[in-house]
């Protein structure tokens, strides 16, 4: 048994909308797998099926070797879930939360208490353990949420958009916690709208859209398929856009022009070389640039590339 998660042809409909439309996925033990997709792609529905919260209409899903429908109780004993919204009792204190859930995992009073103290310390929450969760910052809440998910040292941990709504500091905190978990051998399924997050944390990434996987691979493989990094050039004069596009030393394929923002965006392979060449070319032609930036492709661009159709994805920034 080397697969921690197996999903075969899982379907789930809400009314006439298919949230999952024949999803297939396998995740190897001890790896971090990213599910990347826009809002409404079916990521959360997939997590809810895998964590036994939702019954699939069709297909088969196994977690840690057990069927999520027929052996739900066994699955529940082996998983941890960090959902999109803090799954905590907001009225209670941090320690009370850990103790409550520890008891519900049937650790018994003494072990639940000891485990609570241990986790508070590990997640840097020991001095706020008595405070009500309502008074916690977003990052603290997320850490406590993660601590609760780890009470039983789950075999498989589900992280559903774990950093949505967090400030950069909170995000960094969650990322470092996830990394240390992975070092201890936990399998992680991570959903995210941010390519960067999947890139930072996941060994493999599956891109999900309309309830099915449309591409998968390592972050590097996906990025290579999407054309890797991009260079954005904002000109001072919109009238020079045409001239600038013609002389830029980048392949014409994949160049986009946004006249309103006086922006040219183009894929690059060698970041620094491309930057130097673009600067030189503009300078020689006497075209003034207001801004030049190198960046990762946005989720929009990944999707445009992978699906070849227009997606109404919000800028993932």
């Amino acid at each position: 048994m080397t697969e921690a998660i197996v999903i075969e042809g899982v379907r789930k409909r809400y009314g006439d909308k298919a949230a999952l439309d024949g999803l297939d996925l396998t995740v190897g033990r001890g790896t971090v797998h990213g599910l990347l997709g826009p809002n409404g792609a079916g990521k959360t529905t997939a997590v809810r099926v895998l964590t036994t919260l939702l019954r699939p209409d069709a297909g088969r899903a196994e977690v840690a070797g057990y069927d999520v429908v027929r052996q739900a109780d066994r699955v529940r004993r082996r998983i941890g879930l960090l959902g999109q919204h803090a799954a905590l009792d907001e009225e209670l204190g941090g320690r009370q939360n850990l103790e409550l859930f520890g008891r519900l995992y049937h650790l018994g009073a003494r072990r639940a208490g000891a485990r609570a103290d241990e986790l508070l310390k590990r997640f840097g929450l020991a001095d706020v353990g008595r405070k009500s969760v309502k008074q916690y910052s977003g990052g603290m809440r997320r850490r406590l949420d993660l601590a609760v998910s780890l009470i039983t040292e789950p075999e498989v941990l589900f992280l559903d958009e774990p950093t949505t709504g967090l400030d950069p500091r909170g995000r960094a905190e969650v990322w470092s916690s996830v990394r240390s978990l992975v070092d201890s051998g936990t399998t992680v399924l991570l959903t995210t709208q941010y390519l960067e997050e999947a890139d930072q944390l996941a060994h493999r990434i599956s891109v999900v859209d309309h309830g099915r996987v449309i591409a998968d691979g390592t972050a590097d493989e996906l990025k290579a398929r999407t054309g890797g990094d991009r260079i954005d050039v904002v000109l001072r004069d919109a009238g020079q856009l045409g001239a600038a596009v013609a002389l830029l030393p980048v392949p014409a394929e994949g160049v986009t022009v946004d006249a309103d923002r006086r922006l040219i965006s183009a894929p690059v392979t060698d970041r620094m070389k491309a930057l130097a060449e673009v600067l030189r070319a503009l300078d020689e032609a006497g075209i003034e640039a207001e801004d030049i930036a190198l960046r990762r492709p946005t989720l929009d661009e990944v999707f445009l590339h992978l699906t070849g159709e227009d997606h109404r994805v919000k800028e993932a920034v």
Partner: protein
Amino acid sequence: MNTYALTDSWTMTRRELAHWARQPVQVLVGLVFPVMLLLMFGFLIGGGRGVQGEYVDFLVPGMLALTMAFGLEGTMLQVTQDLNKGVIDRFRSMPMTNGAVLVGRCAADMLQSAIGLAVLIGVGYAIGWRAHAGAGEFLGAVGLLLLFRFAMLWIGIHLAMVAGKPEMVQAVQILVWPVGFLSNALATPETMPDWLGTVVEWNPMSQTATAVRELFGGPGGEAGHVWAAVVWPLALVAVFFPLAVRRFGRLSR
């Protein structure tokens, strides 16, 4: 059901009690509000339209029943809050007895109602109400009130799951008032227009109020209502308990 059903239910009940300890003011307000109503109706508005005998002897049992009816709002609010937070997903993704969530709610609400009854009875005594009854009848009356509250509890849980959002609770809260007052809690049906009097007499809460008045030996009591005060709540539970449990199970659809 599994071997942990009892432990889990107890853990969930303790969770509710821990909430009380965290929010003593809220608990206090919950206890004081019916007392305030009692005093208002007893001294400000009262007069006991059509009541034979002491109005306070009529009013206190009525207020006890009304308080049990209003308990529905509290239950609804708590359940919708739990449902709307991610915490319910946590419970449902854990190897715990799922029903323990409802049992905990039930135990805590019943305990709170019992305390509320005790406070209200105490205040009733202080303002001159007396039960003209033996210990058995007294306990029987309290039992009927709690049975009625138990029915309100399952209606509350079911409505909370149907309504879903805390915003909807407000709508129900507003509706609980006319339903609560469309009873004989504060005045006798004889003083009302015929059609209204009929509605009022059929209100299950009126049955409980009348039976309790009978057991306490005060005005407004009529023989033969104890059965109705047992059967009505049981019938409501028989309808709403399975509905609520089924709704809870359907969260996975």
